[in-house]
């Protein structure tokens, strides 16, 4: 390393020095990123350059670092409690009540709820992500539709389209699950469905997903 005769420190001492510096540093808070930017960092929203800049500041400002940890705590508690999916994770995180409802439905053999391979798994945090049903459902039974929550949405509109593109089912709910009894009257065939988030104006929507209603 070419170090001659100077101070020699360990990594532990470097960390101690940096942390002491961090704890003592005081900044003009006007130069700090707004709380919303720190929350966007926690949720991995926005472009990486902006999040890097926010993180760089938060890790050099004791007060922003505490704010970051506070917002991380609220977010992580939401993930652990099943209220929200982990940021950027491509896995299913359904509210416990919804999961329980779906499990009951499966147990009753009324709907096929296993997510299919073509289930939308978008990285776009603002898009509605569909959860259930799978690609096929039996005819003559109600269908349970489920999707992941979208921040800011007050309601959701479910639309099921027939092969001609006409609206076969339309329904609105505040929940992220809807069991459609009228779906029991759908004739066997191929349909498509999607979910639009309303806030109350139409906002993000899911991709259009194929659904086959199969005669039993």
């Amino acid at each position: 390393m070419g170090h001659d005769g100077g101070v020699k420190v360990t990594e532990a001492q470097l960390k101690e020095a940096y942390q002491a510096h961090l704890a003592r540093s005081r900044r003009d808070r006007a130069s700090c990123p707004p709380p919303e930017a720190i929350q966007a960092l926690v949720r991995r929203e926005g472009d990486e350059a902006a999040r890097l800049a926010t993180l760089d500041h938060a890790m050099s400002c004791g007060e922003c670092r505490t704010e970051l940890d506070l917002l991380r705590t609220v977010e992580e508690a939401g993930v652990r409690s099943g209220a929200v999916a982990a940021p950027g994770r491509r896995r299913w995180m359904m509210p416990a009540a919804l999961a329980a409802t779906l499990l009951v439905a499966v147990a009753l053999g009324r709907v096929a709820l296993k997510p299919s391979e073509d289930t939308v798994r978008s990285d776009d945090a603002t898009r509605v992500e569909l959860v259930a049903p799978g690609a096929e459902v039996p005819a003559g039974t109600p269908i349970s539709f489920a999707w992941r929550p979208v921040e800011g949405a007050s309601r959701y509109r479910l639309e099921v389209l027939n092969e001609s593109g006409d609206l076969a089912i339309e329904a609105e709910t505040r929940d992220t699950m809807l069991t459609s009894d009228s779906a029991a009257s759908l004739a066997p065939g191929t349909y498509q469905w999607w979910v639009i988030a309303l806030s109350p104006a139409p906002g993000p929507r899911s991709e259009l997903r194929r659904l086959r209603v199969v005669a039993q």
């Binding site: 020699k8 990594e11 960390k15 940096y18 900044r27 720190i38 760089d56 890790m59 704010e67 506070l70």
Partner: protein, 187 residues
């Protein structure tokens, strides 16, 4: 069930949901060594918001964790905004004085000076690291494990390791130029 009984049941259900979520917040908060008072302030704000929203159509059937979480997210932001506003009102002077670190329990003047200089040089050296690597180095020195760096930024373990390795190499080189040798045994 009467209307009043229904209202009472909703309150109890909400309170139970808030308590469950609050327990989760405190559990996670301990991991980040947050003050209990900070967490209590957020959860108190959550209760106030739910109390104000009671009886509205928004509340019907919303005694679930998802609703509590959304309320807590916005409550936390408001808590931070209010705190910053209070700080601005106090007009605290900005402290940029020397920092005493690496000192013994009863530090001698030489030790304090050395620690102060080291902290200052480390802070200056970090500023010279490439922007893409600097946050990872800061988090590492602040005591966050590599997994948390990766999780926060959504990086793979390999990318995180690479950025951290290169960033620490930059820091080591810069500190060497300042006459500070660094015994590295990790990262």
């Amino acid at each position: 069930m009467t209307f009043e009984e229904a209202g009472q049941h909703l309150s109890l259900a909400l309170e139970a949901a808030v308590s469950r979520y609050g327990a989760m917040v405190r559990q996670v908060g301990r991991k980040y060594r947050l003050d209990e008072s900070d967490l209590d302030e957020v959860m108190q704000e959550v209760r106030i918001r739910l109390w104000r929203a009671r009886g509205t159509s928004e509340m019907v059937g919303e005694a679930n964790t998802s609703y509590i979480y959304r309320t807590a997210s916005t409550a936390a932001l408001d808590v931070l905004r209010r705190r910053r506003a209070r700080q601005a009102d106090r007009h605290d002077p900005i402290e940029e004085g020397p920092v005493a670190v690496l000192s013994a329990p009863t530090p001698d003047p030489h030790g304090v000076l050395e620690g102060s200089e080291l902290a200052s040089k480390v802070a200056q050296a970090i500023e010279t690291i490439a922007e893409s690597r600097r946050p990872a180095v800061r988090m590492h020195l602040a005591g966050y494990p590599r997994e948390e760096i990766a999780s926060l930024m959504g990086w793979t373990e390999a990318k995180t390791r690479n950025l951290l390795y290169r960033g620490l190499a930059d820091l080591r080189e810069r500190l060497a130029q300042e006459g500070i040798g660094w015994d590295t045994t990790e990262a």
